[in-house]
């Protein structure tokens, strides 16, 4: 998967978790939480969807890596490039 593919995959997951939010203008270098209504339970949903859809495990110590789109893509690249 390319970086663009990973970005799309993350957006799709967030879209399913937050169906009422407009994700069109998400800035890639700002945190998700400051732009959309994403709380800690929603965040755990993201981790669960990565597990369910892509068999990817994100250990708790790595959660800060998923704070922004850019950092998420960077973090997930080695785990998802083979997909």
């Amino acid at each position: 998967m390319t970086a663009e593919g990973i970005r799309k995959a993350i957006l799709e997951i967030i879209r399913d978790i937050l169906p009422d939010e407009d994700l069109g203008s998400l800035a890639p270098d700002k945190t998700f939480r400051e732009q959309i209504n994403l709380d800690s339970m929603d965040f755990l949903d993201i981790v669960m969807e990565l597990r369910k859809r892509y068999s990817i495990e994100v250990p708790e110590k790595d959660y800060p890596n998923l704070a922004t789109m850019n950092s998420s893509v960077g973090y997930l690249m080695p785990k998802m490039e083979r997909l």
Binding site: I17, D20, M41, L44, D45, M48
Partner: protein, 412 residues
């Protein structure tokens, strides 16, 4: 004897298989229109069930619906509809003085079945169990979701009383108002029970699940060919207020809580006890300072089981035989058994009788069972009477919980 404050019903919010509000519900009841349809549930062939079609997103965001439960969605819809119907300006009201009291037969079955099914898709690897499970399955979830949705900071809880829970919600709300612990009670009952296969399967195993080639005819209380229960979802929440408060704000008043009683059979897990049911009705009538002859409508519990219906008729005959009630009717024949919502919904369907002088019928009685012959059973089409002043609403549940709630026309 304490001089309790008078408590009145000032708003109704409901969803039933045959109506998304009181007006539609009442119209369906007068027109003989069933809300039962074919329903697909896990591991079982199609079953008749009472399915609701209200607009789930009218008051709830998609995100909240995804996070919460169906019972929560039903509760949120009914609570908002009731507050709107009551004309309460919730933005400026004392929300710390509002309470939410929701009767449920069960809660957690749906969510647990779904999670176990989901887990099995991942080889029972526990990492795939949802973090949402606990807040979804705590017994207060339906009432709690209302408080979250409406920013209500007064007390909330769910009451477990099997199929009597809908009456119990109203009873508890009345008590809380009389104790002065709240100024407005959002009270009644809900059911999401069609979304669990376990309830259908258990009734089937007991030989108590209704079947019929036409789902609208499957729920047939008191009919000779009845063969069990049709499970339904639904909800009915009332706004209840002390009379003084209702009058002060010029509220519309549907009726007044005249009396109530609930007791226990102490007999059997499943089979009812007609003596205790009769005692319960008599207790409620006595507390309302009435006699059986004062009751105009007996809204029966009647679920369509062989013995249950028979025993209730014995109890009704014992209490009312020899007195002239205007009519006995049954709502489950239209919508099936709405579990925690049943008591509240069945009362609601009769409230408009105070205004229109009609007693809605019981449908699907093609041949009345001779063991269920009670005086003045209204069958097939509505009965017009001179007037209706008092309704007695029966709801009985497993483990022998009985309830009788009496609502009368409000007279100042």
């Amino acid at each position: 004897m304490v001089d309790w404050a008078r408590v009145v019903i000032t708003g109704v919010g409901l969803c039933a298989p045959n109506g998304d509000n009181l007006s539609q519900f009442r119209e369906s009841l007068l027109a003989g229109r069933s809300g039962v349809e074919w329903f697909t549930t896990r591991y079982m062939p199609q079953v008749p069930a009472g399915v609701c079609h209200f607009d789930q997103y009218r008051y709830q965001s998609k995100k909240a619906a995804r996070r919460g439960t169906r019972a929560g969605s039903i509760s949120i819809y009914c609570a908002n509809e009731a507050i709107k119907d009551a004309g309460v300006d919730i933005a400026n009201a004392r929300r710390d003085r509002m309470g939410v009291f929701v009767g449920i037969t069960e809660h957690g079955n749906v969510e647990t079945e779904n999670e176990i099914y989901n887990l099995a898709q991942y080889n029972n690897d526990i990492r795939f169990w949802t973090h949402h499970h606990n807040p979804r399955t705590v017994a207060n979830n339906p009432a709690g979701e209302v408080t979250l949705n409406m920013n209500i900071t007064g007390p909330h809880l769910c009451l477990g009383a099997a199929c009597a829970a809908g009456n119990l919600g109203v009873i508890y709300g009345t008590q809380m108002l009389r104790l002065g612990e709240v100024d407005l009670a959002i009270a009644g009952g809900v059911s999401e029970s069609i979304h669990t296969f376990g309830i259908f399967a258990s009734f089937k195993a007991q030989g108590a699940l209704a079947s019929h080639e036409d789902p609208t005819k499957a729920s047939r209380p008191f009919d000779k060919d009845r063969n069990g229960i049709v499970v339904a979802e639904g909800g009915c929440l009332y706004t209840l207020e002390r009379l003084d408060d209702a009058l002060q704000r010029g509220a519309k008043i549907y009726g007044e809580v005249a009396g109530y009683a609930y007791n226990s059979d102490a007999t059997d897990f499943v089979l009812p006890n007609p003596q205790r049911q009769a005692e319960c009705m008599k207790l409620a009538i006595g507390r309302a300072k009435m006699t059986p002859g004062d009751i105009d409508i007996v809204s029966s519990h009647g679920t369509g089981t062989n013995q249950g219906d028979q025993y209730e008729c014995m109890a009704i005959q014992e209490v009312f035989g020899g007195h002239k009630t205007a009519g006995v009717n049954n709502t489950k024949s239209f919508i099936g058994h709405a579990m925690g919502a049943a008591g509240a919904l069945e009362l609601a369907g009769n409230l408009p009788s105070f205004d229109d002088g009609l007693i809605h019928p019981t449908i699907n009685i093609d041949n009345l069972d001779p063991e269920c012959k009670i005086d003045n059973l209204v069958i097939g089409s509505p009965k017009r009477v001179e007037k209706v002043d008092v309704i007695l609403n029966n709801s009985f549940g497993m483990l022998g919980v009985n309830s009788a709630l009496i609502v009368k026309r409000f007279v100042n």
